[in-house]
């Protein structure tokens, strides 16, 4: 599974051979296939493109010439959306996402290390607890969490989201990292131990650096999750100044109902970071996804 990255690039040479025996029916079939792929690409891309372009239009252009490109690039729409709240939502999302990435990957890496390298008393119970965590969905906990967070004073703070995003993603992340750690040769940490390193030193200096690829994947997936999470952010944050992007955007849409271009500019700005992150870290993303789905 670690070799996934390279297998993605493998040239599938059977296709070349297939081309030699083309009949009329085969040509028609290929044409159909291509048009399906093409149509799908258009269907996927067009709304995104429309969103980006309409962010540059004015209301008249959107309403009267929905298909045409913008008459001019009105960057002021983007500036306005930014000032009208996107900058604040953005900052909040960065804080919550960043903190939860750090907490989730570290806590999960510790636990994964504890679970697969050390002999814990009741280690099985811990493993079971973590495994069980995979079966529980956040929606179910909404109401009790509302009570819990109010009573411990975390309601309407960034901490509420940071703690919850961490807690609910720990099971998945532990399993992701653990699956990778198990494959690491034990000889390495044994050698380090013989050299006099403590367990803590082994973890920080040997294990953690070796796990880097999977940590990156885990961090990316956590970023995608935390950046986009909606239900907790909707229920547990009420202060306008603390809202994260997903909830903030909806609030902005209901404030600016008739100002489509500004809302669309805001949407574009909100979508950009995760799309860029995906484009840059595509391989790590896919590794995390397939490993995560598989385990």
């Amino acid at each position: 599974m670690i070799a996934l990255g390279s297998s993605m690039e493998r040239p599938a040479s059977h296709r070349g051979a297939a081309r030699a025996s083309l009949g009329v029916r085969a040509v028609a079939a290929r044409l159909l296939g291509w048009s399906l792929l093409g149509a799908f690409a258009v269907a996927v891309l067009y709304p995104v493109l429309w969103m980006v372009l309409s962010g540059f239009k004015d209301n008249q252009e959107i309403f009267n010439q929905p298909w045409a490109p913008p008459g001019e690039l009105r960057w002021e729409n983007y500036a306005r959306a930014w000032d009208l709240g996107v900058v604040r939502y953005f900052t909040n999302s960065v804080i919550v996402t960043g903190a939860s990435i750090l907490a989730t990957t570290l806590i999960s890496a510790w636990a994964a290390y504890g679970l697969c390298r050390l002999r814990l008393p009741f280690g099985n119970a811990v493993a079971l607890l973590v495994l069980g965590g995979l079966l529980l969905s956040p929606t179910v906990a909404l109401i009790p969490l509302f009570r819990l967070l109010t009573s411990i004073g975390l309601f309407d703070t960034h901490w509420a989201l940071i703690v919850l995003y961490t807690a609910f993603r720990i099971p998945f992340t532990i399993f992701l990292i653990r699956a990778y750690m198990i494959e690491l040769p034990r000889a390495v940490d044994e050698a380090a131990t013989i050299d006099g390193a403590t367990r803590t030193q082994v973890f920080w200096r040997v294990i953690l650096p070796m796990c880097r690829p999977i940590l990156v994947s885990a961090a990316l997936l956590q970023a995608l999750f935390a950046w986009n999470e909606f239900a907790f952010a909707l229920v547990f944050i009420s202060d306008e100044a603390l809202k994260t992007l997903p909830v903030g955007l909806v609030a902005m849409q209901s404030r600016l109902l008739t100002d489509w271009p500004v809302v669309l500019a805001g949407l574009t700005m909100a979508a950009l970071p995760t799309i860029l992150l995906f484009l840059v870290g595509q391989r790590q993303f896919l590794r995390g996804l397939t490993e995560g789905v598989g385990k």
Binding site: F122, S238, D239, L257, T258
Partner: protein
């Protein structure tokens, strides 16, 4: 992975044990706040409003600063949040019995919830009708915060619902402002024949329709019945006037509105009206600013939604309500809170409210030619004539009833429910609310 059964079992035990600690904390008995004028004005006041919008917030900051300047020993901690966040925040604060000294409330069951839970101080002695402070307010506004014959709130602004019309569009179609509901319908036919949308109507979130129903209920159902039905402890909704009101509204939408109303937002509809593509638009006075600022300018005026000729209810009722402030019943500074609220509603501060925020103040004589525009002063004069407010149906009733009305009317508009079926749903919700309040 082997799993000894007992570890799983002990896990469950631990979870059940921890779960036991979640019980609610005891209730504090409803204290009667001491409202007699404070001997010395000193201490800290906490206040939460829902006016975080940049166009409204500065007014409250200004009043607080002025009060603190006049009373150097008082520290007012003002927190302002947005509309929706406020609903969450106040829910949390009341659940944790951590309410500020002064807090915002809509009129109707929203305020009554606090009264029933013993969280709102009885202000009858200071603001009741006949008291010096109370007689500075328009009576209908005070009445909106009355519950069981007692006054619990101080109104801060006034809001009425009016049919705004574009004079140019109506003139062109040869239509004059209608004086009865039947005339309104035939005016719609004329406008349609002239090729314009008679009434711009967007009902995406359901409340736009509810405002019509509020008014039509007030026209069609006797006031006493309405009062009984809107109170969750006694609501029955058996009067035939309710069904009639729904039928009238259905006619109105068929002849004056559009088929896609449920999919259009109120604001999109408004944009249509502003662009001169529709003749009329049913709006709140707080929205009037939009029409004065329309570009290109439009020539506009307004009238009340006219009453049907056969109306069993109050033809002088007007849909609308004040927003207001309640005082925490457990507040140690209740007297100081009242003093601050009095300061906020001096004629001078009330006039500033109209000037700064474009709102109508319930304080008599606060709107003048130099702090408002003609339509606004006309509206205030008209509101003064209103015998009582028909408070928004979705805030005056219990949340269950409001919800049944909202979704039921949406269903009626899209044709999946008859008016009778809508009322069946409302009655079921009322029965449930009765049990809950019980």
């Amino acid at each position: 992975m082997t799993k000894p059964r007992w570890t799983a079992l002990s896990l469950v035990t631990v979870l059940v044990a921890t779960a036991g600690c979640g019980g609610g904390s005891g209730t504090a008995p409803a204290a009667t706040a001491d409202l007699s004028a404070p001997k010395e004005k000193a201490g800290t006041l906490t206040m939460v409003t829902k006016f975080a919008d940049p166009e409204y917030a500065p007014y409250f900051e200004k009043v607080v600063a002025a009060y603190e300047a006049a009373n150097p020993k008082v520290d007012v901690k003002l927190e302002q949040v947005g509309d929706q966040p406020y609903k969450d925040k106040i829910r949390v604060l009341s659940a944790s019995r951590d309410l500020p000294d002064i807090y915002f409330s809509w009129a109707g069951d929203f305020a009554n919830k606090f009264v029933r839970a013993g969280l709102a101080a009885d202000l009858t002695d200071v603001i009741g009708p006949g008291t010096p402070w109370g007689s500075t307010f328009a009576p209908a506004a005070l009445k909106a915060f009355e519950y069981g014959g007692k006054n619990y709130g101080m109104p801060i602004n006034l809001d009425g619902k009016y049919m705004v019309y574009n004079k140019t569009v109506l003139d062109k179609a040869g239509v004059t402002p209608p004086v009865s509901f039947e005339e309104l319908l035939s005016a719609c036919d004329k406008l349609k024949a002239a090729g314009v949308q008679p009434i711009a109507f967007g009902n995406q979130y359901g409340w736009a329709a509810i405002h019509y129903i509020t008014q039509l209920n007030a026209y069609g159902v006797p006031g006493r019945t309405l009062e009984t039905d809107y109170n969750p402890a006694t609501g029955a909704f058996t009067d035939p006037g309710y069904v009639t009101a729904l039928k009238q509204f259905k006619d109105l939408v068929t002849r004056c509105g559009t088929k896609d109303a449920n999919g259009l937002s109120h604001e999109t509809a408004q944009a249509q009206f502003l662009a001169g593509k529709a003749g009329m638009h049913y709006v709140e006075t707080v929205e009037f600013d939009v029409f004065t600022k329309a570009k290109p300018a439009i020539e506009w005026s307004f009238f009340r939604l006219p009453a049907p000729s056969a109306a069993a209810g109050d033809k002088a009722a007007l849909t609308g309500a004040p927003d207001g402030f309640l005082v925490n019943a457990q507040s140690k500074n209740a007297a100081l809170a009242v003093d601050f609220l009095k300061f906020m509603t001096t004629k001078e501060n009330a006039a500033a409210l109209t000037k700064d925020n474009g709102w109508l103040s319930p304080v008599k004589g606060s709107a003048t030619a130099d702090n408002s525009y003609p339509q606004l002063t006309d509206a205030l004069a008209d509101i003064d004539k209103a015998a009582s407010f028909a408070i928004w149906l979705d805030t005056v009733t219990h949340a269950e009833v409001a919800s049944a009305y909202l979704s039921g009317v949406e269903g009626m508009l899209s044709g999946s429910r008859t008016p009778e079926q809508v009322m069946e749903g409302v009655r079921a919700a009322a029965a449930k609310a009765k049990k809950e309040v019980g």
